[in-house]
């Protein structure tokens, strides 16, 4: 006979052993590629080293592909501890926990089983190919370019029913989750916005765009966590992928041919001219498309009229005229202040004073996919001003004063900050506002 409460249920080995019963397995799911301790709770287990010398309860855990158990200890008639370690590349995500008591009379085993789950090792996939490792080894380097849509997916599409999953991504380098210009092509916008969204790092998939080439390899990591009861570490190992990110090189924009002048023959105008000459070398095999976007940083204008009224108009940060402003590697601007406005009383314009502050961006869209975005390669800020008054004694406009377009000191600045705006403005609207505001 057996002493002690732990062995109370054990019958002598000469008899048929009782059928084992599994009431729970904790945790009921465990990560592939990792070693996890599990506890099988139940009854009628035959412990190791039982006083009756019975064959202890046999324990196994397996998938369709492999035995995943690496050790077991029948601690008591009600508890078995074991370790499981599915291979990292295990694809069968359902496991069977098996226990058996040997009937030494018949040589057969009386078994009980229950189901458990294998949680897949984290893996990052790009275009259907796994590009990551999770064991610390170097992943294969992936090639990408700035502005390219990097849409990464992961493998744990099938998890135990009811499992709550949280995803954690980290992408190196300067990146964003999206750049949206609405409407996408604007030749005469009255409403226009451009917004940048951050890369979402807590979604099942990752969509990101790099804004700047990397000096070396740029890592992307991913892991997921689950709410499986009994799982000491609820988070998977970390999968790591690596990218080399390229973009145009030898990028420069040189302003030239700045001019400021008045046209004194009807229609009379005050005009500025500036030309932007861009240079860039696209990545090999990726010509992409170069475009320009110009932002008004500020415009202020005051017009005076023959009846003594004065109109003011201006703008804060706004898209200038159209999106994109232009295509190709050279562009120009030719702001014009018309001098033949009339106010709402029909009085003719007699003077104007205008200050412009603008920022011209050179963008590059790799056009690698339908969702690729234009990325800012840099920008150049410039200002201009002008004033002129009508000389009624000569019936002509006098000598203009002001400045031709003047680039900011430092010239073209290589920046990877996307231009954003929430309104658009064009010269016709601006001048109309000036005339209409006269009072």
């Amino acid at each position: 006979m057996v002493d002690g409460p732990d062995f109370f249920f054990i019958t002598p080995c000469a008899n048929t052993p009782p059928a084992p019963v599994i009431s729970s397995v904790l945790p009921s799911a465990f990560f592939a590629g990792e070693t996890t301790s599990i506890t099988i709770t139940g009854s009628n287990f035959i412990p190791n080293n039982n006083p009756n010398g019975c064959v202890p309860t046999a324990v196994d855990t397996f998938t369709a592909d492999e035995d995943v158990i690496t050790g077991a200890d029948v601690v008591s008639p009600t508890e078995i501890t074991a370790t499981v370690a599915p291979e990292a590349d295990e694809t069968d995500l359902s496991a069977t926990v098996w226990v058996g008591n040997l009937d030494e009379n018949s040589g057969s085993e009386i078994v009980a089983t229950t189901n458990a789950s294998v949680l897949p090792a984290p893996a990052i996939q790009w275009n259907g190919n796994t590009i990551s490792t999770a064991d610390g080894s170097n992943p294969p380097t992936q090639n990408a370019v700035i502005g390219q849509t990097i849409h990464l997916t992961v493998n744990p599409s099938t998890l135990p029913s009811g499992t709550t999953v949280t995803y954690t991504w980290a992408a190196g380098g300067t990146n964003i989750g999206g750049y949206t210009v609405s409407p996408p092509i604007q030749t005469n916008p009255t409403q226009s916005t451009a917004t940048v969204t951050a890369t979402s790092v807590s979604s099942a998939d990752l969509t990101t765009y790099w804004l700047a080439p990397g000096a070396g390899k740029i890592p992307v990591t991913y892991q997921y966590c689950v709410n499986i009861p009994g799982l000491t570490d609820p988070c998977s190992a970390q999968a790591t992928a690596e990218f080399t990110v390229k973009g145009p090189t030898r990028v420069s924009v040189t302003p030239s041919d700045e001019k400021f002048y008045a046209v004194n023959n009807p229609p009379e105008t005050l005009e500025w001219v500036i030309k932007f000459n861009g240079k860039a070398t696209s990545p090999s095999g990726q010509p992409g498309q170069y475009t320009w976007v110009q932002l008004v940083q500020s415009i202020s204008e005051t017009d005076t009229f023959a009846d003594g009224k004065q109109g003011t108009c201006g703008s804060g940060v706004a898209l200038d005229t159209s999106y994109p402003y232009d295509t190709g590697l050279s562009t120009s601007d030719e702001p014009t202040n018309p001098l033949n406005l009339t106010d709402q009383s029909g009085s003719e314009e007699t003077g104007t004073n205008e200050n412009l502050s603008m920022q011209m961006f050179l963008m590059w869209n790799p056009q690698t996919d339908s969702s690729s975005i234009p990325v800012s390669l840099g920008s150049i800020s410039w200002t201009a001003s002008g004033a002129i008054s009508f000389d009624s004694s000569t019936d002509t406009w006098g000598e203009q004063s002001g400045s031709k377009p003047t680039p900011a000191s430092g010239g073209f600045a290589l920046t990877s900050s996307e231009p954003t705006w929430s309104v658009a403005i064009n010269g016709d609207t601006l001048e109309q506002n000036c005339a209409n505001s006269a009072q």
Binding site: N188, K259, S322, S332, E334, T342
Partner: protein, 170 residues
């Protein structure tokens, strides 16, 4: 005879800029019908072809096609050679002389025309001029090459088109 003289005069008045600098574009105008009723829209199609060996940037109205006047100086003469006045813009007086100005198009978009390629737009002549009087009219346009494309001249250049005769009937 008088008609031939007028045509010759017009051509002489607006020589092509090639005399000083070779034009990078050619400009051609046409109309669906050279005879129209006085109450009918008179459409003028303008085709600009890049005849240079490099892309050239031109300007265009921001809106949909139909306002080629945004990039063209439009000239219409009646049968006796009088210049028709614009009716779409303001009228100003300078030194005793009235100027019938065209509507201003300050905001124009840039378009790039590759070598050998053309761009097309159109305008409605009777929206720019009073052409209700029956008779023959001679039309030509001068396509603007923006100042920044005229560097080092820094001033817009205007490249004339062919001339066209349109007859307006009662």
């Amino acid at each position: 005879m008088k008609w031939i003289f007028l045509l010759a005069l017009l051509i002489a008045m607006y020589p092509t800029a090639t005399a000083q600098q070779k034009s990078p574009i050619s400009v051609s105008i046409s109309t669906p019908s050279s005879t129209v009723g006085s109450k009918t829209d008179i459409r003028l199609d303008v085709t600009v072809t890049n005849i240079s060996d490099h892309p050239i940037k031109l300007v265009k109205d921001l809106g949909p096609d139909g306002h080629a006047e945004a990039a063209n100086d439009v000239l219409v003469y009646d049968s006796v050679g009088n210049t028709l006045l614009r009716i779409d813009g303001p009228v100003i007086k300078r030194n005793g002389q009235l100027y019938h100005l065209p509507k201003g198009y300050l905001s124009r978009r840039l378009i790039t025309v590759d070598p050998g390629k053309s761009t097309e737009d159109f305008l409605l002549l009777n929206h720019l001029f009073d052409m209700t009087q029956p008779g023959k009219y001679i039309v030509l346009v001068r396509q603007e090459i923006p100042a920044f494309e005229s560097i080092p001249n820094h001033e817009p250049r205007y490249i004339p088109s062919n001339t066209l005769t349109i007859t307006v009937t009662q």
